[in-house]
């Protein structure tokens, strides 16, 4: 498997403070890597470093040449009044392949329209994005992230704003996409993540990589992963390996 991204001893943060420390991570082709960790543990910071949005204060990052990123940002309050339609939003995911000074090509429009049809957005493609429901908006942003057929799809908390039905569909779509592209997903939802990802990394200032997708009690104890989410989780079909009673704090 070819290595797409390699991080070596990365320190990064904002305004001189370190949020993440000494991170080394390698993301290989066709991986489906889940990154979990507590709030404020540095999940989004790590993603920003990987995407090149935040310069690390020390360490090395190597990204395969010419790699295309698809990015689904954390669902914050997108500017509800900004004049941009659903279709324009999806099309903006094709800017990396568009020639400068030229409009989007006919194929770009067709690709965007096909994807919107698949995600049930074709009826509202001219609506302003700010007027959509949370679930519709998330679908529009997911379309924007994947319309360019990126080499790697980076998702920051993709399940935070979708309804339960669409959440299941979305994970099915991601599994399907994983045949063609690498996926890197940040989530606080440890229950769901284990049933879809191939590998897990746990980040709480420092990072620990766990090949395989089981969450072990070892991970919970040593690396202070969000235990409460696991003990209180109501999602079925979760297997915790070597889970001792009273073992997890």
């Amino acid at each position: 498997m070819e290595e797409l991204i390699k991080l070596e001893n990365i320190d990064a943060g904002y305004n001189g403070s370190k949020i993440i420390e000494n991170i080394s991570l390698s993301v290989k082709e066709n991986d489906f890597l889940g990154i979990i960790g507590p709030n404020g543990g540095g999940k989004s910071t790590l993603i920003k470093v990987i995407l090149g949005l935040l310069k690390p204060s020390s360490g090395n990052i190597t990204v395969k040449k010419g790699m295309k990123f698809g990015y689904l940002p954390q669902f914050t309050s997108a500017d509800k009044k900004f004049p941009i339609s659903v279709k324009e939003t999806v099309l903006s995911g094709l800017l990396s392949g568009k020639k400068l000074f030229r409009p989007f090509s006919k194929k770009d429009h067709e690709d965007a329209e096909d994807l919107m049809r698949k995600f049930d957005l074709d009826g509202i493609q001219d609506s302003p994005v700010g007027e959509l429901s949370g679930g519709q908006m998330q679908r529009a942003f997911l379309c924007r992230a994947m319309v360019s057929h990126p080499d790697i799809l980076v998702l920051d908390e993709p399940n935070s704003f979708v309804d339960k039905d669409f959440a299941r569909d979305m994970y099915q779509i991601l599994l399907e996409l994983n045949g063609r592209m690498t996926i890197l997903m940040v989530s606080h939802d440890t229950g769901v993540i284990t049933s879809y990802v191939k590998n897990i990394a746990c980040i709480n200032r420092t990072l620990h990589y766990h090949p395989g997708s089981d969450i072990t009690s070892d991970m919970l104890e040593k690396y202070t992963c969000p235990v409460e989410l696991i003990t209180h989780g109501s999602l079925p079909h979760r297997v915790l390996r070597s889970h001792k009673i009273g073992g997890a704090k």
Binding site: P83, E88, S92, G93, K98
Partner: protein
């Protein structure tokens, strides 16, 4: 009314109003959509320092104001991005510094500053051929930039981080746009004055955004509304003998109110 067109100064004013409307309609749509109206206010008032410096050195105040305007735009961005100062605080500091410098320079300049009032309140009837050329060249440049980079600009304005991940030259395009904004403001100071220049960049755009939620249409509508405001303001200022800058802004507010009220009626009855 026809005989008005035989006066050269009035024809010049009409051409200026037209070019200003195109420029402000376009740039203002970007400013309003991106919610950087306050940055525009900061640039406007900082450039007053440049006007003062121009008087003091005895050179065209428009040139020094342009330098101050662009430097303040870059300074505000750098202060908030790199020096960890909150953006609104940085704007407030530049705003005050520019006004203070302007007052100091004008005080130090011997004699009375004759057309200082022109810069504070503007006078579209006093613009020179040179000013018209500058506004026209800037209007054409801005139109070309928006025409050829429309999708990039639209995407950056909506979600800068996402645009960066797609390899869009966000930094470069931001600097080009902020320079165009600074120059637009400075060149329009002569037309409507420091005190009113921001309204030309916000009122027609806000009116347009009541009618359309499409960025392209918003730009076209803003330009048209700006043209109607400035032409009607110009005629009113002539017939009632009141300052042109104030009457142009007054007309744009009246149009805003008319559109807002009729839109509310429309929504009420279409329910």
């Amino acid at each position: 009314m026809i005989e008005l067109l035989s006066y050269q100064f009035f024809v010049k004013a009409l051409i200026t109003a037209l070019m200003t409307s195109v420029l402000c309609g376009l740039i203002g749509s970007y400013i309003v959509s991106r919610r950087i109206v306050f940055i525009g206010g900061g640039i406007t008032h900082t450039s007053f320092g440049g006007i003062g410096l121009g008087y003091y050195l005895g050179i065209n105040p428009v040139i020094t104001a342009a330098v101050f305007g662009i430097l303040s735009a870059i300074g505000i961005k750098a202060a908030s991005d790199k020096a960890d100062i909150r953006e609104d605080s940085a704007i407030g500091i530049f705003w005050a510094l520019g006004m203070a410098l302007g007052i100091i320079f004008i005080y130090l300049t011997p004699g009375y500053a004759p057309d200082l009032m022109t810069y504070l309140f503007g006078n579209i009837l006093m613009v020179s051929i040179y000013d018209i050329w500058l506004i026209s060249v800037l209007g054409l440049t801005a139109s070309a930039v928006f025409y050829f980079l429309f999708n990039e600009i639209h995407s950056i304005a909506f979600d800068e981080e996402f645009a960066k991940t797609q390899g869009v030259k966000v930094g470069l395009i931001n600097y080009i746009l902020i320079s165009i904004i600074a120059l637009t403001i400075v060149l329009n100071i002569k037309v409507v004055g420091i005190i009113l220049v921001m309204s030309l960049l916000t009122i027609p755009q806000t009116t347009a955004s009541i009618i359309t939620k499409n960025f392209r249409n918003m730009i076209f509508l803003s330009v048209i509304i700006a043209i109607i405001s400035s032409f009607s303001g110009l005629f009113i200022s002539y017939f009632f003998n009141i300052p042109s800058g104030a009457s142009i802004i007054f007309c744009s507010v009246i149009i805003f109110l008319l559109v807002k009220i009729s839109n509310s009626f429309f929504l009420f009855f279409s329910k």
